[in-house]
Symmetry: C2
Subunit: 148 residues, 2 copies
DNA sequence: GTAATACCTACAGCGACTGTAGCTTCAACT
DNA sequence: AGTTGAAGCTACAGTCGCTGTAGGTATTAC
């Protein structure tokens, strides 16, 4: 009765690569599926839904660790909503501060590029600003990675 | 006459870690400095300036590869400004599209969180939206990394 | 029967650092 | 002069979230 899916169909639906799904399984985010006689993975609706949750959360920028936590909460349906709310709210804050940082980058880049006259590098405003932070209006911030 | 700096002083000025500076040297972004009798790195004003350029560019979100290119252009002062301008303009575009993506994430997160009533997970709007992309207004985009 | 496609495992690589282990060197203080 | 603590050294593994590759097996379509 219940539908089954190949890894390729899952990847298609999740807008990700086949390897990504195997990776999620490897790190314990997706449960091991059954295997066919020929050793190929056979997914059920449950896997399908779980992958949907993961991919959608990724699109909203959640880390795999946060997703793992939210999935655990999801698996206990009588659990209070508070913790999920907290995770999402914290994430929202991080997204907002990333936006702010990117906006100040954008402003400074725009200013820099606008002042460039297209002459020689020796007189280039862009090079000049990059060489000299004092000419820049972007406040200093930590330079570290973030996820999409 | 000319000033010398230790790696610690450089790191301080560049708002980065000592290891980061050794890393930049390793990948050829900073030239090898002289060494003291005790094998410690001794930096000159030239290194100091170059690190300043790198760190400021990083704060504006340029990748190390773009920075490498801009440094090469910078090293030829009679070179036209055009290429620097192009690199910066492309980067600005990327920053702007990152802002847009983050803004739509922010909007959807806000919407999701606002609808949550703090009951049980079974009825949680956040979980619901995450489980079902159809409930979401964020258009699908590729989920990949970006730099600060 | 054959060819193309999809699947399998295992592992290396990306970017930009960061952390650790196990040393040596330097600067300051008694 | 000795000692202590901070700063420096090398070499290498780990982070995150995949992505790519090599070298094989299974399935599907014609």
């Amino acid at each position: 009765m219940s539908k089954h899916y190949t890894i390729g169909q899952m990847a298609n639906a999740g807008h990700c690569k086949v390897q990504t799904i195997r990776y999620y399984e490897q790190i314990g985010l997706l449960p091991h599926p059954m295997r066919s006689e020929g050793n190929q993975r056979i997914y059920t609706q449950t896997h399908w839904n779980r992958l949907g949750f993961i991919r959608h959360s990724r699109e909203l920028g959640f880390s795999l660790e946060r997703i793992r936590e939210m999935l655990a909460l999801n698996d206990d349906p009588s659990h209070s909503c508070e913790e999920v709310d907290l995770i999402a709210s914290k994430h929202l804050q991080q997204v907002e501060s990333k936006i702010k940082r990117l906006q100040s980058m954008r402003d400074e880049l725009t200013r820099m590029i606008g002042r460039c006259q297209g002459n020689q590098v020796a007189d280039c405003r862009i090079i000049e600003v990059l060489s000299n932070h004092a000419l820049c209006s972007v406040e200093r911030h930590s330079v570290d990675g973030d996820d999409d």
